[in-house]
């Protein structure tokens, strides 16, 4: 292990001596930014230093630099220090617009439970909750609620049996989101038969 003496010649710019950084200060800021950006969780200066094989001081300097840069230009993003690490986040003032976007973004993303329920409804429609339970073997109430909210399914009137349960089928939005012109385009098991051979 190398002894890291305090070689504070110029913390600001010179990436410190014996490690012989090959990166210019600008490059260091850039790669630090990239690491903070890709990290799933706040990333500490220590970890960044290890990855880049640079000393802590240069990394801290680079982060300071980066923060100033973000504040200097009127960026929509900020470098936040949180839980001992750094992360990039949107600026607080913009939350209203950000929230609006998050609410309206169209999404076909589904949990596995919802996807299963949707699959049953798509292939068995019109179908009632008890029938879905029968096929899936699990309660599907919350999945159905999600699917209704995402407007992927619609109610299709009551079934004329005991209890007159509500029937469900897929919606126009379902067709759009799954890129189908009509339900006949839904692939059947036979369509993929030869793929499974």
């Amino acid at each position: 292990m190398e002894t890291e003496t305090e070689t504070e010649i110029d913390i600001e710019i010179e990436p410190v001596i014996e490690k012989k950084s090959l990166r210019s200060p600008g490059e260091l800021v850039a790669v630090v930014e990239a690491l903070i950006f890709v990290a799933d969780e706040p990333i500490s200066a220590k970890l960044i230093a290890e990855i880049l094989e640079e000393d802590r001081e240069s990394i801290s300097a680079a982060i300071d630099n980066l923060r100033e840069e973000y504040e200097g230009r009127e960026s929509g993003l900020q470098i936040r220090e949180i839980a001992g690490g750094f992360q990039i986040a949107t600026r607080t003032e913009l939350h209203e617009d950000v929230r609006k976007f998050l609410k309206t973004r169209p999404s076909a993303k589904l949990s596995l439970a919802s996807l299963e329920t949707l699959a049953v409804i798509a292939y068995k429609q019109p179908v009632t909750v008890p029938e879905i339970l029968e096929i899936r073997g699990v309660q599907s109430a919350s999945a159905i609620k999600t699917l209704l909210e995402k407007r992927l399914i619609v109610t299709k009137g009551h079934k004329e049996t005991v209890g007159r349960p509500m029937q469900y089928g897929t919606s126009k939005d379902f067709l759009i989101q799954f890129g189908l012109n009509d339900l006949s385009e839904l692939p059947s098991i036979e369509d993929f038969e030869d793929l499974v051979g």
Binding site: K109, E116, A119, V120, F178
Partner: protein
């Protein structure tokens, strides 16, 4: 066999077979895979530095057949498509040997038996180049990274589903509850074809399958017999292996 022993190397971008006869008794083999018969054919033409518009069909055919024999000899499964191409080549070769009718001689545009093959090769080669282009693009793209997760990404693991997923999921559910569904909705006995289909699908999905567990899913004696025949059929025809760790142990079906 003498042929094999001459310095014979198949080397294709590192991704395909290299078969090198190093000495009279040693055959060094590095096998990859040609993407198909046309791929192999193109390779052989290249190797001979032959003009694609004037393929020395006899020579190429011999080498093609030799390659396939070699593969078979080494116990590599040779896909049917490769055999079909061998037949095509042999057919062209024999057509080329036929004496041309005198009346045709004056004709400028004599049908070249190789023409169709050449056209296919040319078209194929375009797509092969396109595939290469795609390959290069992925290499570039893999150097670019997107942001890590942030709070606003939904926390639960969500699936961005396609129609294919939908069908896949549905099939899984049906498989999971096949018996119940059958008893209540259909009531009819499952045919051997369906049983085999079901078995194949699951084998494909899970790569291996407990024969015992599969039999236990059967409800009637008839179904059980059908299942049994299906297992035998598949073991025979589909390139799957049956393994058993000890006598009376469970038998496992594996795709090979």
């Amino acid at each position: 066999m003498e042929e094999i022993l001459e310095q014979y190397s198949f080397d294709f971008n590192g991704a395909a077979p290299t078969i090198v006869a190093e000495s009279r008794d040693e055959l060094r083999i590095t096998l990859g895979e040609f993407a198909g018969p046309l791929d192999l054919l193109l390779y052989l033409i290249r190797k001979e530095q032959a003009n694609i518009f004037d393929i020395p069909i006899a020579k190429i055919t011999n080498q093609y057949v030799l390659y396939i024999r070699l593969m078979k000899k080494l116990d590599f499964a040779v896909a049917a498509d490769f055999i079909v191409m061998a037949a095509t080549l042999i057919e062209i070769k024999s057509k080329m040997l036929l004496p041309r009718e005198p009346s045709e001689e004056s004709d400028e545009e004599i049908d070249d038996p190789r023409q169709e093959l050449v056209d296919r090769l040319l078209e194929y080669e375009q797509y092969k180049s396109a595939a290469q282009m795609l390959y290069e693009r992925t290499t570039v793209e893999q150097a670019i990274f997107q942001r890590g997760k942030i709070e606003t990404d939904e926390n639960n693991a969500e699936i961005n589903a396609s129609v294919f997923d939908l069908l896949n999921v549905f099939q899984k559910i049906v498989a999971r509850h096949k018996d119940e569904v059958q008893m209540e909705i259909h009531r009819e006995e499952i045919s051997l074809a369906d049983m085999m289909k079901n078995l194949k699908r699951r084998l494909f999905e899970f790569k291996e399958l407990s024969v015992l567990a599969f039999f236990e899913e059967m409800h009637t004696k008839r179904e059980l017999v059908t299942a049994f025949v299906a297992v035998l059929e598949i073991a025979r025809a589909e390139g799957v292996r049956l393994t058993q760790s000890s006598t009376f142990a469970d038998i496992i079906l594996r795709t090979s």
